[in-house]
């Protein structure tokens, strides 16, 4: 039983990180109807900002950790907005395929620029938050796992509040529903889209730091696998749907962990993706997504 609970906790803390990254994919898709493949590399940049910032603050303090988290989120928000401004904005009226290919280009650009600046060798991420282990019954709970889950939950609540309780959130939903009508109603689409990228990238940065806290070996290609998994999580939950992304991330993280802990550990990715295919066979729009016919 304690093994089951321990695996559940391991799975939830992994899933919470997938969920944070998945939110970025889903928000951009909701507004612009395209997959921002550079998102997983913004996640990597977030971890590296954390790495360098972590050297400036004293190790193992709560305020230090939060400061690092904050700076990385702001840094990546700016990066995300810059990417949107320079790479995607000109292509807004172009076919989706062009934007998609540009996104892959931006992704590769970030990865290999990262290798030039940071070097390809993995680095040890500093312990920026205090580390303690708690034991409840047979279950060991690491403070980092708690921080991952707590930060993820707080950020998801904040995101939900922004989207449903603020003017900019209303504008985001308006653009998502119908961009042309939103312009006619006086919404400045450029500002809204820029804000969406900033918000999504800030969440990716938080995801990057939390990931690095739990798995403290970071390198410029670290975003590739988590990014792919988060993308799957976003689709699993229903792309464009915020609670769906969170749910998808948690499901994927938990399934992966349970498979890893079983004798089929070699097949953990295969099984995770098989589940995706099965769910999409029965619910093509994802768990919480609504099926809409695209007009071509």
């Amino acid at each position: 039983m304690s093994e089951f609970l321990q695996q559940l906790l391991n799975g939830l803390s992994l899933g919470a990180i997938y969920a944070l990254i998945a939110l970025g994919y889903t928000m951009v898709y909701g507004v612009l109807r395209f997959i921002n493949f550079a998102h997983s590399d913004v996640f990597m940049v977030g971890a590296f900002i954390g790495y360098y910032m972590g050297k400036l603050v004293p190790e193992g303090t709560l305020w230090g950790g939060l400061a690092v988290l904050g700076v990385a989120m702001i840094g990546c928000a700016l990066l995300g907005m810059t990417i949107e401004r320079l790479a995607y904005r000109r292509l807004r009226s172009a076919p989706t395929l062009n934007v998609l290919i540009t996104a892959i280009g931006v992704s590769l650009l970030l990865e290999y620029t990262g290798q030039v600046f940071f070097g390809a060798a993995p680095r040890n991420f500093p312990a920026i938050f205090p580390v303690r282990n708690f034991q409840i019954g047979g279950v060991i709970i690491g403070s980092n796992q708690l921080i991952v889950i707590a930060v993820s939950v707080v950020l998801m609540i904040v995101l939900q509040l922004i989207v449903y309780r603020t003017r900019i959130g209303t504008a985001m939903r308006a653009v998502s529903l119908n961009p042309k009508a939103a312009v006619l109603m006086g919404v400045n689409n450029d500002v809204v889209i820029s804000f969406t990228f900033g918000l999504g990238s800030a969440l990716a940065a938080a995801g990057g730091i939390l990931y690095a806290l739990n798995y403290p070996s970071i390198d410029p290609l670290m975003g590739v696998m988590p990014g792919l998994k988060a993308f799957v999580a976003a689709i699993l939950g229903g792309i464009g749907n915020i609670p769906g992304a969170a749910l998808g991330g948690l499901i994927l993280g938990t399934v992966e962990t349970f498979v890893s802990g079983s004798q089929w550990s070699t097949y953990k990715d295969a099984i995770a993706f098989a589940i995706l295919i099965i769910i999409l066979l029965f619910r093509p729009a994802g768990l919480l997504g609504r099926f809409t016919v695209e007009k071509v």
């Binding site: 093994e3 390809a120 060798a121 282990n133 070996s217």
Partner: protein
Amino acid sequence: MRFGPFQATRSLIRCALFFTPLALSLAATTVEPIRVGQFASLTGKEASFGVAAHQGVVLAVEELNARGGVLGRPVEFLVEDIESKAGESATVVKKLIARDKVVAILGGNASTNSLEAAPICQAAHVPMIAISSTNPRVTAMGTYIFRACFIDPFQGAVLAKFARETLHAKHVGLLTSVSAPYSVGLSKVFRERFTAAGGEIAAEQKYTEGDKDFRAQLTALKALQPDAIAATGYYTEAALICQQARALGIDVPIFGGDGWEAPQLLELGGKAVEGTYYSTHYSAESPAPEVQAFIRKFRARYDGQVPDAVAALGYDAMMLLADAMQRAGTTDGPRVRDALAATKDFPGVTGRTTIDAQRNTSKPAIILTVRDGRVQFVTAMRP
């Protein structure tokens, strides 16, 4: 090439330092140099092995050239970076042989890389000495393929004996990297020898190279309450495994093979790798005069850095090759091959080396432990 700016400058300086005297001697004598090629991961996640091996080879080449070269000809050394990526080894070895016309190939740290390069060297009849590839299949690829290190069955047997007799372990949990032939081979032999010695494998858990989350596998192992855990993969994953195991409250000894041998094990692992053990090819604490002389030369050449086992093997590989060429009296591939195969009691830094009929070497393994943030000698062992 994906070098960091720092590494790029460093290797430029290194090249300049190395080629200047060579160019001068060439101009003076116009003797055609002997070209030797190496392939190594100078960047990426196995960079520690590649860089160390390269440093060892460079030291040997410089020493040989200072002595007047081999067969009266200077040695020209070329290195290609395989970036820790699958598929690169085959490409760069083809280039070294076809375009640079090297007479021998050194290298292969990870067995995967040597397995890629071996058929190409075999087909071209160019002798290859794998530096730290311990998977037995490497030298089975052909008659031109040799190695400077011991093989996994030997190392697996040593680890089994160590676990059984020194750690007094009875139930051992096994963690294998299924995408690394090195790890798969080592785990297989360990399992056979450990069960033959009266031990029991509690369970074998698997992961793939590049994985970062081992909590699931470790939680499953913890439930079985093993006396020790064998992690047969490489150092990046080993460091993370130790960290996550300690965080999950697993306090039994963790041990592995020579894939752990890297300064990064301590950097990435920190306090979590304290009290862990691994087997390797050589210890800098050995009092043997050839070891101490090697360490002195290495420290003088590389700003006081202490050489690790892979650097020592790189040095030995180059010296083995030079010795064979000297005995063959030529750089002709088939004759160098025959001379290499006939190597007997060569006084290497990693022990007296004899090449057997399978083109493998035999010498005792060294067990090391991490204590007080430093790697320390435990014992030398034969299975």
